[in-house]
């Protein structure tokens, strides 16, 4: 049938067996980030690299911030098995606001604003690493 071959064709299709390659099914995520847009030292980014991270005025908080608006342990951010981050108010005095609404807990989504006292953060969701 080579007579039907047009000038533009490359070689004929091979008939040899193809070995199928499996790439690992990775669930690894790039680290999500809380970007402080308002507060002492802003702008500044905090990577949420641990499963549980506490923001507070306490010197031993995972994200210690020197602001009298904050309780010593103000808010907990916890990575769920699903990879999503849950934010939870730790009975703080001044509360936690997501997109302007006072919450006790919430799942964070890309672009959410997180306000604690006069500090304002934006949550950036980590993207899957290929």
């Amino acid at each position: 049938m080579s007579s039907h071959k047009t000038k533009n064709d490359w070689n004929d299709e091979s008939t040899s067996e193809i070995s199928v390659t499996l790439l690992p099914l990775s669930t690894e995520q790039a680290v999500s980030v809380l970007e402080m847009v308002q507060g002492p030292g802003a702008p500044r980014s905090y990577e949420l690299y641990r499963v549980e991270m506490v923001i507070g005025r306490a010197i031993d908080a995972d994200i210690p911030i020197n602001s009298t608006d904050l309780s010593r342990r103000h808010v907990l951010i916890k990575r769920q098995p699903s990879g999503q981050h849950q934010i939870q108010d730790l009975d703080s005095r001044n509360g936690v606001f997501i997109n302007g609404v006072k919450i006790h807990a919430a799942i964070l989504h890309d672009g959410d604003s997180v306000q604690v006292g006069s500090l304002l953060f934006v949550y950036h969701e980590g993207r899957a690493i290929s």
Binding site: Q84, Q86, I98, N99, V101, H104, I107, H109
Partner: protein
């Protein structure tokens, strides 16, 4: 006294998993209200499955729960057969009808587990499931006063209010308030004009710290959906304003609305609220959100 309100499912009509609905969620109606040690569950849509899984992580004590169903359309009952705590003998669940002898909800919950629909029979649920009722529209459960209000919806539906120590939460979904407005022409009138909510419903919601309300449609969409059982989101803002509610959660999101649409709906409702009373806080109910009162 502390109320915790947790949204497990906020979608209306049918589950909508997928990328477009990631933020507000794809599970259908289910809201958990914890009042001190009491557990109230409003509707058992697909969000109920996850509530059940979560309850099992909270400890080993027997669970007692009180189910209040707005009505028995699919999107409000489908999670029940997947509610794991109902399979454990130490747990007790009360399913409330609106009056003595009203077992419609109980019967439909068991009906949806007939073998044609589901592999496990209702009789095999080992927890104690009790058909209970509100006495004359009202009942005090563990010190929390629960009342109902009959809404406007094909096949009937009910709103519930929960009051304890001066805090009030109202759950009112699947309610076409637009059909009950005092001025029947309000639907085609100037959209900016205030819409007058019937007195009885205004009183029922009055002073709520949180009103969770069906807010399914945009104004323009509603015109082709009159009689389907759901309101314009903007009408719900007028209800919240006239009932002097503090916070309004827009709920029962339309399955055709992606997150960006729901964001737009919230923005429109906030604009309307701001024009009339900037103190009213309006937000979109979304999965995983938990609020605290008291």
């Amino acid at each position: 006294m502390t109320f915790f309100v947790h949204f497990w499912g906020t979608r209306g009509s049918i589950p909508t998993p997928g990328h477009m609905t990631k933020k507000y969620g794809g599970n259908t109606s289910c809201v958990e209200i914890r009042c001190d040690d009491s557990l109230f569950i409003c509707d058992g849509g697909t969000g109920l499955r996850e509530l059940g899984a979560d309850l099992l992580t909270r400890g080993t004590r027997p669970i007692t729960g009180h189910f209040f169903y707005s009505h028995t359309h699919w999107d409000h009952i489908q999670g029940f057969p997947f509610f794991t705590p109902a399979y454990a003998p130490q747990n007790t669940f009360h399913v409330y009808g609106t009056a003595q002898g009203d077992k419609r909800t109980y019967d439909l919950l068991s009906g949806q587990m007939r073998s044609e629909y589901f592999p496990v029979d209702f009789g095999e649920l080992r927890s104690n499931i009790v058909a209970s009722h509100l006495d004359g529209g009202h009942r005090v459960i563990d010190g929390c006063a629960v009342s109902y209000y009959e809404q406007q919806h094909p096949g009937r539906s009910w709103a519930y209010s929960f009051v304890k120590d001066g805090f009030k939460v109202v759950y009112a979904t699947d309610n076409e308030i637009d059909l009950t407005l005092s001025d029947p022409k309000a639907v085609v009138a100037d959209p900016l004009a205030p819409r007058t909510i019937p007195d009885a419903f205004r009183r029922f919601c009055h002073g709520a710290d949180l009103l969770i309300s069906d807010a399914q449609y945009f104004d323009d969409e509603y015109l082709t959906k009159v009689g389907w059982g759901h309101p314009r989101a903007t009408t719900v803002v007028d209800l919240a304003l006239q009932a002097e509610v503090k916070q309004l959660a827009l709920f029962h999101h339309d399955p055709m609305h992606g997150d960006a649409d729901v964001d737009r709906k919230i923005a429109l409702c906030r604009e309307r609220a701001a024009r009339m009373n900037p103190a009213l806080q309006v937000f979109g109910a979304r999965e995983g959100l938990e609020l605290r009162f008291g």
